[in-house]
Subunit: 333 residues, 2 copies
């Protein structure tokens, strides 16, 4: 028997989640059964989309269940195996996050061969957030030569990859992020112009100054005022990849949308929402491109790391306060 700790959903939040919505519990893991492996998690991810799963509403990801352990991406190491496909010491990726360890059928985890990358990169730059950036830019926004790209949440796990992929492909990139540290980092990786939205009273004017000829592509992680500014500064036939709207995830009543949606018409703008899971087939191509860009020094990334399963709620809540530079992670091992 091994004792592991896990985070359960204690109550559903109204607005920004608090510690009261989470519960830390201990469970005993028996030895793995036939065909099962036992895994000690090394890293888990917290992501903004999980906020929607805390509500009891049907959406693209099923809601977390009250009183039950939460779940999400994790990277761990096999500690015991009853299946020939995996052996102790193997690294695996799984959806069994928010816990220190677990037993699962061997087929429910994916063996990870990290190569030159640190294993937690597969929860960020080399994982879903990276693929989200890649698919959103290349497929949804149909990025083409000469496009001027605007990215909100530019210093986040997805946004930072959008900025760098667009730069690697030779585009002019304008990012928006909150605070001097994020702005400085974005400039250090080559983002052409960075808007500190917390320091701007008029986002629309700030974007007009940063993109005097307008924008062709907007990668939206934020919604709200950022989306409104992007609409006002869009060029003809602009494409908006709508990836997230973190500005409204904690709204306790409906937040009005932008008042300028009629810009879609005169400017022939295409606005398309997407979920990365529909684009998993692009992963091999993405990893090939990423490997090349990393080797060429064109792409790097930051992590904000909390340590210990008991800090996972803090890490998660911190996402909505903009506490992360790059990928927000919880180190468990």
């Amino acid at each position: 028997m091994t004792t592991v700790r896990e985070i359960r959903l204690k109550s559903r939040p109204s607005g920004l989640p608090t510690h009261d919505n989470f519960e830390l519990a201990s469970v005993e893991l028996p030895a793995p059964g036939p065909g099962e492996v036992q895994v000690k998690n090394l890293w888990m991810t917290v992501d903004p989309y999980m906020r929607g799963r805390m509500n009891d509403v049907k959406s693209y990801a099923p809601p977390f269940q009250l009183g039950k352990v939460m779940d999400g991406g994790a990277v761990g190491q096999v500690t015991a195996s009853n299946d020939p496909s995996l052996k102790p010491g193997d690294l695996v990726q799984s959806g069994f996050g928010w816990r220190e360890g677990f037993n699962a059928p061997a087929g429910a985890v994916q063996k990870l061969n990290p190569g030159a990358l640190p294993p937690q990169a597969f929860l960020g730059a080399a994982g879903m957030p990276g693929l989200t950036a890649y698919a959103g830019l290349l497929k949804i926004a149909a990025l083409k030569d000469g496009d001027v790209v605007f990215v909100s949440g530019a210093a986040g796990a997805v946004g930072a990859m959008v900025c760098q992929i667009a730069k690697a492909k030779g585009h002019t990139v304008i990012g928006s992020a909150g605070g001097a540290e994020k702005v400085a980092w974005l400039k250090s990786v080559g983002v052409d112009r960075v808007i500190d939205y917390k320091a701007e009273s008029d986002l629309n004017a700030a974007l007009a100054a940063a993109a005097p000829d307008g924008i062709d592509v907007y990668f939206d992680n934020v919604g709200g005022a950022h989306l409104e500014a992007a609409l006002n500064n869009a060029r003809m036939f602009a494409r908006f990849a709508i990836c997230g709207m973190i500005s409204i995830y904690n709204a306790t009543r409906p937040e009005p949308g932008p008042s300028n949606l009629a810009q879609l018409i005169g400017r022939n703008i295409r606005m398309e929402g997407f979920i990365v899971s529909h684009h998993f087939s692009m992963m091999p191509q993405y990893i090939a491109d990423l490997t090349k860009w990393v080797a060429e020094g064109k792409i790097s990334w930051k992590e904000t790391v909390f340590e210990g399963i008991e800090t996972a709620p803090d890490a998660f809540i911190g996402l909505f306060k903009g506490e992360n530079l790059g990928k927000m992670l919880v180190k468990l091992g």
Copy 2:
């Protein structure tokens, strides 16, 4: 010398236009100069997009000028010609509306061969409104077999054609219009379910009842609450053709957009604005299809006709009060 009357923009409206914004004036037309024709207008069109041209803002159509005659689509008859390409009696289409007659270079008007159609159809079903419906459905919304189609402003010049083109192609069509007469007409032409939005307190629930399995395509002529309801009832990978937002054209301050734009993400919705002038190349294909559908009895249309140039402001203002069933026209000849 011939005396003709014309409508000039006297002042720019705030909110819904009033008679005070228009001025009826008489001008003397000399004989046409070399290479010119003189045309007596028979019909002129009023369209919702003209409201934007009454404001002094840059948009896809240039603003009307204060004190100057307005313009827009018209069909007329040549009364005198100094150019070999046109002779008296020829029907022509032009952009010289809002006036009873005009002189213009022969190359500035298009000779019209109406065939079996009445000439004013080229301002409606066989003209820009019809092509708007066709291009919006087939190209922007990428209509495909089995799609359930929702249309707002369904009894208007564009909406009525959207409904019937979608029906001609075998789709389930849900229309929204205001008032019993429009609802009855839409049902008479085969629209499967019609929402009388003026009689509904909850448009979202009304659409959910009319489309229990959701909608795949939304053709938006209205914006506002209709767009919000469409987002809430959209199926995965739905496509929205954003053609017009008549609900906000007369807003005197910014109207908030729908509060549920985040639905774009989870449902992978594509929302695309468009202007018909970018799709003129589809006109020959459209006219071929239209001719076939009319011959098969699959498409018909209604007109709401005001008579006399002095009634043009009434016809135009009536668009925003929903006074038209089908195409709003002013008969001049």
